[in-house]
């Protein structure tokens, strides 16, 4: 009798040869699912050519001590003031910008110009950290020993915060940094937020 029953449940053993023709309805869904999977795949390479947001970056390994020294040099070169005890640094448009993460601070505060491209380097000198730019919600992983150089073009002015979003110990929630974006036309480093802060804190 069982041989005549067309359908079985998933806990009954089927005949030895279960490779049988698929019903039209099921075949339709298989092809829809396959087609959609192809779209999902194609979007990623496509966005590398057509889209403006990719996590590619310029990637190198770096000794934490060497990175720390590079950040110190960068701060010395372009510091324009301080903000809440943190150096404010205004690098020229198109330059390499170095941001250091450590338990539990982002160093330095950056002042960038809207509309200009920078190479923003991220690295850590101790454990993993997470770069999360608020309120834009741009997120990157920061790994010790690796220099992640991202070409970024700030497109709006204002104050942005960097939240650490990778657990890095008990002071994780204290780790907040800042990026100030000023109007490109007014010139960097000479006015705007950096100048005010320099006066206020010194």
């Amino acid at each position: 009798m069982t041989a005549e029953v067309k359908y079985r449940s998933g806990i009954e053993a089927p005949e030895r040869i279960w490779w049988k023709k698929v019903h039209k309805t099921e075949r339709v869904w298989v092809w829809i699912a396959f087609g959609w999977s192809m779209v999902l795949f194609a979007m990623m390479p496509l966005w590398h050519f057509r889209g403006g947001q990719n996590p590619s970056g310029i990637r190198h390994t770096v000794e934490p001590a060497a990175y720390q020294a590079r950040v110190a040099e960068f701060i010395q070169q372009y510091q324009v003031g301080t903000d809440n005890g943190f150096p404010v640094v205004a690098p020229p448009p198109g330059s390499d910008v170095y941001l250091q993460s450590s338990m539990w601070a982002w160093l330095p505060v950056l002042q960038l110009q809207a509309g200009s491209e920078y190479v923003l380097h991220l690295s850590s000198i101790d454990v993993n950290h997470g770069f999360s730019l608020y309120p834009l919600n741009i997120n990157f992983q920061v790994v010790p020993g690796y220099d992640y150089g991202l070409r970024v073009t700030p497109s709006e002015t204002g104050e942005f915060h960097i939240i650490c979003n990778e657990f890095c110990g008990v002071g994780h929630h204290l780790m907040v940094g800042k990026i100030i974006v000023v109007d490109g036309a007014s010139g960097a480093g000479t006015e705007g937020a950096g100048g005010e802060d320099a006066g206020g804190d010194q």
Binding site: E4, V5, K6, Y7, S9, G10, I11, P14, E15, R16, W18, W19, K20, V22, H23, T25, E26, V30, A33, W36, S37, M38, L40, M44, W47, G51, G52, Q53, N54, P55, S56, G57, R59, N84, F86, L122, V127, G130, S132, P135, N137, I138, N139, F140, Q141, V143, P144, Y146, Y148, V152, T153, I163, C164, N165, F167, V170, H172, H173, L174, V176
Partner: protein, 573 residues
């Protein structure tokens, strides 16, 4: 060898050692669930910023406890029980090496206790992922190694049971689909646990200062364990969908070829699914990321979409064949919604697909990950997959395992009947509001999102406070649902009314037994198939076809909305 009993409900021959090993692993899983659940309450009441219960150190400690107990101990112990069930019980087979089974169980228990000790005594405040160079006590890593070796032994034992069953011809034809699905889970488990060994042994040595370890390499290999273990969950969960469909409504398999091929796709295309945790990492380039996210084809996603069709279609067809033929959705209104096994199955399927699946594939896209990585969107996603999906399915099958394997009636049956509803609704509210909060950039794994004491203090919009409050309420409802589950199962197993060996419960009314046992779906007859209507391309399952097209529309919409949101950001590359 005479240690077999015949199940009065199913007629299957069950080996006494299989019974015992299933019970031991299921009880261990429930204990882990209880511990992880207590931690869940504390974590939730701290993340709910208006309550903010714990201090920072204790919060991260409880978050570690929650992650390890839920994602490793609860789920893998339960999966060990599933493996014994799907092999020895479904195939009428003996357990060939019971001593090995108990040694493996003991290893897993010892490993668990080592990890628990380091966590509770503050020697492993490194969270579930324990990213190097955060450092835990060496026994934390050694405990995980013990646990993984024990689990790997059970996987080997499962393969041995299949070989013995085949050689001793305990079944006719091919293994049932549920066993086949469990087999794919076991193969993925072997790959996963090997990754576990590859990463935890060096990390153990590193914790003893015996070798160096690269943080990026750690992240890559660790996720070979961390994400692949979620694929064991998926394969086990889908197997349980087929199992619950069979037990509750006599769900059928439309086509063995399609369902089995979909399981094979899991093995081939999610073998090392660590890539989408590293999409915004500095160690890998775009081609590595694109290739390893999708293996060019997204075939594992396709596999889930196939099961997402074949399981409801099997339910629809099973009901239609038994006379529920009215209209497009008459089978749904005739379904046994009061059966906790059936309601769990439906919630597991729907929330896993609509919330967990869609968000997971979207966030796991190379570029979209920029607006999702390490925000609350990620735990929002995986609470919809691994909790509302896998844990919900495991809860559903428990209501059958208690009478069929533990031979006890379900205590407080009215509570058991509504438990899936409470848990599913709570988890749905919780995971959706978590996902929503994450899209504002609220970070995951964060003690204080008001940033008290920080040099700069970003302020989230008032909408975020509201959403986080809703998340808190949803989480509490889910915790009530989880507590109901633990109360029912623990009480049933230890104090539930015993069932006599020949008691099938057939036709019983008012006893603590699900309808799939008291009024099981009748056996199909050849004439049933003739009653089916074939509606053109909608075929014999028009209701399911409409439902999956709604699913596809939701998927496409969410996916492209996220691309649009991404395109508003600063240029970055």
């Amino acid at each position: 060898m005479s240690a077999f009993r015949t199940c009065p409900s199913t007629g299957l021959k069950v080996h006494g050692q299989a019974d015992a090993l299933i019970k031991a692993n299921a009880v261990a899983a429930t204990v882990a669930l209880l511990v992880g659940g207590v931690a869940a309450i504390l974590v939730l009441l701290t993340r709910w910023q208006a309550v903010h219960l714990l201090e920072a150190t204790m919060f991260y400690r409880m978050l570690t406890v929650h992650g390890m107990n839920m994602l490793i101990f609860f789920i893998i112990f339960f999966e060990m029980a599933v493996l014994y069930f799907a092999s020895a019980v479904l195939l009428n087979a003996r357990v060939p090496a019971p001593k090995t089974g108990w040694v493996a169980f003991a290893l897993m228990v010892v490993g668990t206790l080592m990890v628990e000790w380091t966590m509770w005594t503050g020697r492993a405040d490194v969270l579930f992922t324990s990213y190097v160079p955060l450092r835990a006590h060496p026994l934390f890593y050694l405990g995980v190694i013990f646990f993984a070796v024990g689990a790997l032994t059970v996987v080997g034992h499962f393969f041995a049971i299949l070989v013995v069953a085949k050689r001793e011809m305990t079944y006719d034809g091919s293994v049932p689909l549920v066993t086949y699905g469990a087999l794919t889970a076991a193969i993925i488990a072997a790959v996963t646990l090997l990754h576990g060994a590859i990463i935890y042994i060096p990390t153990f040595l590193w914790s003893l200062d015996m070798m160096g370890l690269d943080p990026q390499v750690y992240r890559m290999v660790w996720w070979g364990l961390g994400h692949s273990s979620q694929q064991i969950n998926v394969a086990a969960m889908v197997s349980i969908w087929y199992l619950l469909a069979a037990l509750t409504v006599g769900g059928v398999v439309l086509n063995e070829k399609v369902s089995r091929s979909a399981f094979v796709l899991y093995i081939l295309f999610i073998s090392m699914a660590s890539a989408h945790h590293l999409l915004v990492d500095p160690g890998m380039g775009p081609s590595w990321k694109v290739w390893n996210t999708s293996y060019f084809m997204y075939m594992a996603v396709m596999a889930s979409m196939l099961h997402g069709f074949t399981v409801p279609a099997g339910i629809e067809l099973g009901l239609r064949l038994r006379g529920a033929t009215q209209g497009l959705f008459g089978w749904l209104t005739r379904a046994p919604w009061g059966d906790p096994g059936f309601s769990s199955l439906v919630f597991s399927l729907v929330v896993f697909g609509f919330v967990g699946g869609i968000t997971g594939v979207t966030f796991g896209t190379e570029q979209i990950n920029i607006i999702a990585h390490n925000t609350l969107r990620i735990p929002g996603h995986f609470h919809a997959t691994v909790v509302s999906g896998t844990a919900m399915a495991f809860m559903g099958i428990t209501y059958y395992v208690i009478p069929l394997i533990f031979r006890r009636e379900i205590a407080f049956y009215p509570i058991a009947k509504i438990q899936p509803y409470v848990f599913a609704i709570g988890m749905l509210i919780f995971s959706m509001s978590m996902t929503f909060a994450g899209s504002f950039g609220v970070p995951r794994r964060h003690w204080d999102t008001t940033f008290t004491g920080a040099p700069f203090r970003p302020e989230f919009s008032p909408a975020v406070d509201l959403v986080v409050g809703v998340m808190g309420v949803g989480g509490l409802i889910a915790i009530v649902g989880g507590a109901m589950y633990i109360l029912v199962t623990v009480w049933s197993v230890f104090f539930g009314k015993r069932m006599a060996p020949d008691d099938s419960g057939l036709g019983a009314v008012g006893r603590g037994l699900p309808p799939g046992i008291t009024h099981p779906p009748r056996a199909l007859e050849p004439a049933d198939a003739e009653r089916l209507e074939d509606r053109g391309w909608l075929g014999p399952v028009p209701g399911t076809m409409i439902l999956v097209l709604i699913f596809l529309a939701a998927f496409i919409t969410y996916y492209f909305v996220n691309w649009k949101l991404l395109s508003f950001l600063w240029r970055v590359g």
